[in-house]
């Protein structure tokens, strides 16, 4: 049976920060509400570097939230890089669950504590349950693509380039200039295209 949140070890590492195993005090009433919001009220969840943005509609009130995920410390980052080199090739954004376990054992905190995440909203004050809802949605996204768990914590200078480039042999439609559509390219055009 696949879990709704935390199907992979990477998602579960994040889930543990949202739902601590050891509960002291009264049950956290924000959690069930946050899960319901994650299921139905979140749209446009996008991840750029370590920033997660999402639109959330709660009781007909819409808000866009931006969460900045703190990067790993230098030590953690080095441990992760070493482990990744020995993992070898990966397919379609997956990472083995075993790696998550090993990293945790080596002292790497895969997910930050929720309080460490800086949250900003475009309207009014930020509700804790909204931040938690975005984190739940993020857990599902990480389950789908575990490599995100690494990208979300990697300092931006070492993060792989995100500049979009067309695969070899392909020309993106957005790069086609209608003005030159029917013109035979000159030598200079071709040289420029090659250097792009």
């Amino acid at each position: 049976m696949t879990r709704e949140f935390g199907a992979t070890a990477w998602g579960r590492a994040w889930l543990k920060q949202i739902e601590p195993v050891l509960i002291t005090g009264a049950p956290d009433r924000d959690l069930p509400r946050a899960r319901a919001l994650a299921r139905h009220a979140i749209t446009d969840l996008t991840i750029t570097g370590r920033r997660v943005t999402a639109s959330i509609t709660d009781r007909s009130h819409g808000q866009t939230l931006a969460l900045d995920i703190p990067a790993w410390s230098g030590d953690e980052q080095r441990t992760v890089e070493r482990a990744l080199t020995s993992t070898g090739s990966l397919h379609a954004g997956d990472l083995p669950d075993r790696l998550a376990t090993d990293l945790t054992a080596a002292g790497v905190r895969i997910a930050p504590r929720i309080e460490e995440i800086a949250a900003a909203g475009d309207t009014g004050r930020i509700e804790r349950r909204h931040v938690l809802a975005v984190c739940y949605a993020l857990v599902q996204r990480i389950d789908e693509e575990p490599v995100l768990a690494v990208r979300l914590r990697t300092p931006s200078e070492t993060s792989p380039s995100t500049v979009k480039s067309s695969p070899a042999g392909l020309l993106a439609l957005t790069d086609i200039d209608p003005k030159t559509f029917y013109l035979v390219p000159t030598v200079r055009d071709r040289r420029n295209a090659a250097s792009r």
């Binding site: 696949t2 709704e4 199907a7 992979t8 299921r39 397919h91 379609a92 954004g93 997956d94 599902q140 996204r141 389950d143 789908e144 693509e145 067309s166 695969p167 070899a168 042999g169 392909l170 020309l171 993106a172 439609l173 086609i176 030159t180 559509f181 029917y182 013109l183 035979v184 390219p185 071709r190 295209a193």
Partner: protein, 498 residues
Amino acid sequence: MPLPVAGHCALTPDGAHVLTAEATTDRLRSALTLTDSLAVAGLTATLRGYQLAGVQWLLDRDGGAVLADDMGLGKTLQAIALMLCHPKAAHLVICPTSVSANWAREIARHASGLRAVGDHDEAALGTVTVTTYARLRRDPDRLTGRLWGVVAFDEAQQIKNPRTLAYRTAKTISAHYRLAITGTPVENQLGDLWALGDLVRPGLLGTRRRFRDRYIVPIQRRGSPTAAHRLAAHTRDLVLRRTKTEVAPELPARHVIDVACAITSEQRRLYEAALAEAFDTGLGAGSARRTSVLALLTRLKQVCNHPAQVLGQDGPLTERSGKFDRLADMLDEIIDTGAGCLVFTQYTAMGRLLTADLADRHGLAVPFLHGGLRPANRDRIVDEFQSGKGPNVLVVSLRAAGFGLNLTRATSVIHYDRWWNPAVEDQASDRAHRIGQNQPVTIYTLRTAGTIEDHIATMHERKRGLADAALTGGEADLLALGDEELYGILRLGPEAAR
């Protein structure tokens, strides 16, 4: 010679790119080279553009792929071409019994560089061993004990369950290239997609459990667009699927495909018994002879259709008739794709068996359009089919089809049994292929190889092209023959050999 963008602006499948000028000319060159090398290797057919592109695509995949083109686009031919590109090897085809005869025939027809052999023959360089899933289950060692060039799993959706013996055995067959062939759009059944993917490219899609967690559950339970998008990108390297609509400009407006089906042992027994009984008791002379020959022809045709038809039974229906099983596979694909299809039969009893089977296996109330219906019912059935409100398959009695029916929603026409006069079949096919039809129509004629249906097919070939007025009933030709000649025509041919 540099090209303007207008000269190389064909869209790639992702809809967001075009090939660069260099890539376009490279592709053209490799297509020309491939055409030449296929001709040298012994391909006697001319591949259509999309078929050539398909073979090139398959060759570019590393060790395996799923070919999932729509029915009628020539998947078998592309697979044969792929085998020709792997010379110095023995190849293997595993398919349902109902299509094994068709494979042997297509190989003989299109590839002089290959030779189809049976289970018990020695596999050597340039041979294609054609065997069945039933044999794979019964006698796996013969198939798993050697290294093949290309192994093709035809109608691969039949072994999509990873827990079955057939699937597990299929996985242990070693080959340079593993090809799964299916006309069912596997991308809609994610579990099946994983099974077929893992069969041809082990590990490419990750473990089954991981695939379920990362794709099936997110896509099917919460409609995750990110997971669907990633899966599409991921499987673009695994599955090639072109629909009839996509390649319509390359298809002829009306395209006839002859489908040879294997006889089952029950059919063989009934067929031989009917022949023996008729000839042993004697056919008589004069009008009595006419009656007994016609009765014999009808009986043989019914045996070819289905033992249940000739025995007056309601079932069981599967694995008793090669044609019936083949049709069931074809209809499974058609029902999945939603394209309109007409199935013609000249026997009411057969029409009822066909609709009963569809109701049983798909829960579909497929109407049977026959001469005994009231005009109002008939019109309702036609309207529902044409408007898309009813099921996309319609079973039609050949005799009911002569009237002004307009069934242009159908882009496939299947003749389940053969009528003596090709003009009658053509008239039926024209219910779909007529004014108002803007898609190519594919017409399939099913026949049981090595039986009386071969004779009818040969006669059609001979008669087509003659003026309609010159056509006479084919039974008349047979009635004029003496016992020996008649027996020579009707007895089981080598294609129906055990």
